[in-house]
Symmetry: C2
Subunit: 320 residues, 2 copies
């Protein structure tokens, strides 16, 4: 486990230590919690503070019915307080975080949150403002194709939250204009955009994991994968130098759902080695989801994020 390998000494007598701040943004049911859970397991829960900024609702469920917008709208959230709390966490200070109870739809007693070594912030709008974005060392936007996300949302909200499928579909329709206006624009503002989807035109057997396409923007220094991936002809995992939607250069990493473990394992070791941890193997728990299922595209995605989290800690150590 990496938390056995890397021991970061906390410099208590210099005031609060600044944690590594990671944003995981995306629309409802885009896979934020699955991605986060794997990172928490890999790092060890005692090193990670994970919060959801959807708790910063201004109105409860009953009050929202009287409002001309859905929970996605920034006006429906205490965005200014969210910014303030992210700044406090980023500077190592505790917050008294509001709590929204998804079961009852009510705002309840707030809870004390103290930043550990890593703070994972997931939610609908963590990248909505410039001030909130400035709090993060790395930001990720999860962008599955809409039809896949809709399927995930119907499955989750009917199974875990007790809604009927028609109600979930109606809600998705009601939210669509605000998704387009406020949630999806965050995709252009993240350091990494992750898209889990099947590969068009392939006839993979049932149970094949979704493939991952990762847009690695040059806003941060990513691990250098070109040496591993450029020299060989690879079908299942490849890195492409491409152009972003706005024309700026980006790397795009493709990890196919049918990637063989030995091939993906080589990529994982290459990422891991660049952290100066060639001795150990990357955490074996990466890529786990649902009830014991495994996905190499998810594993590589999580490992890339883990790389950034550990790399940011190492940097903080060197500059302190």
């Amino acid at each position: 486990m990496p938390h056995k390998l890397i021991k970061i000494k906390r410099v208590e007598d210099r005031g609060p230590t600044r944690p590594v701040m990671i944003a995981i943004a995306g629309d409802s049911a885009a896979g934020k919690t699955t991605l986060t859970a794997g990172l928490v397991t890999a790092l060890g829960p005692e090193r990670v503070t994970a919060i959801c900024v959807d708790d910063y609702h201004r109105y409860d469920r009953v009050e929202r019915r009287a409002q001309p917008f859905t929970a996605l709208h920034p006006a429906c959230n205490y965005v200014e307080i969210m910014e303030q709390h992210l700044q406090l966490l980023a500077t190592g200070q505790p917050i008294l975080k509001p709590v929204y109870d998804h079961g009852s739809g009510r705002l309840v007693r707030p809870e004390l949150v103290e930043p550990r070594e890593f703070v994972l912030v997931e939610g609908l709008l963590p990248l909505h403002t410039k001030l909130s974005r400035a709090c993060f060392d790395l930001s990720i936007y999860l962008e599955p194709p809409e039809e896949i996300r809709h399927g995930w949302k119907v499955a989750r909200d009917t199974e875990k939250r007790g809604y009927r499928p028609e109600a979930v579909l109606r809600e998705l329709e009601a939210r669509e204009p605000e998704s387009a206006a406020y949630i999806r624009p965050q995709s252009a503002l993240a350091d990494v955009v992750v898209r889990f989807a099947p590969i068009a035109g392939r006839d993979d057997p049932p149970g094949t994991p979704l493939s991952a396409e990762l847009v690695l923007r040059p806003s941060v220094q990513h691990p250098d994968l070109s040496r591993v991936l450029d020299n060989v002809e690879r079908h299942a995992i490849h890195l492409k130098l491409t152009r972003d939607a706005d024309g700026r250069p980006v790397d795009t990493l493709h990890v196919h759902g049918h990637a063989r473990r030995d091939e993906s394992s080589e990529v994982k070791k290459a990422i891991w080695a660049q952290l100066g941890m060639a001795a150990g193997d990357p955490p074996s728990t990466l890529g786990t989801f649902g009830a014991g299922q495994h996905s190499e595209p998810l594993a590589i995605t999580q490992l890339l994020l883990l790389y950034h989290m550990l790399d940011a800690t190492a940097e903080a150590r060197m500059s302190s």
Copy 2:
């Protein structure tokens, strides 16, 4: 009304305007709310944000029963969050303040608080830490004799909060060690200590208001009352140069409950004139309490605090 006389221009384009911060500390039922209410009326509610820091309870009523201390103990409160929120308000920023429901004894949904021109902070422990004290332009500690405070607490808790007198007396007894350890030491840290009490040895008719003794510490510049009060022999209102409990020099202002309105009126005008407001009269609402009762000692106390609040605003205006 003074808010018609003094118009403070808020400098919106320089970032948040810093409010004038006033602490009103004291034990349970020491008269904090009565004093605060009069100041809010005099200034106009639209200019004042009034909060109670007893909302920063760490435990609800049921959880407290399992704790080895009462609600007075700093460990029973989120003192660090209280400090943080006071700093935010002092720098003109909003907070999402926790809310303790005295009726149900439960911690409920937090509320957005935005600082207006004046922020009045009352509670049990606003002066408990150095960092919290640093947030205030003026701090007041209310210190009625314990037997009077006990009477006030029994009256209030039985009439307004539905307790039986025995329960209130038991609670007072349980709280006494923590009152002594954490609440009363704040008296030595305030700029002004106010003591409402009858004058020993006098046989005033029933209904005579309590007298006020105000310790005016040189930690802030008080209005110069020496010219008004030194030259004449006064029985009902007098200023004494004395020594504080620790030997440091202080002024002590005595306002007797039987002070005549004309005598007290002269003192009020002198204070008011020093604010450069000789033209108008001090607010006529000062000194009101309970169901339409009036107390000149309370009026002069409130006017002195009002002096400091308006004076701090004027200073802020000049230095901006």
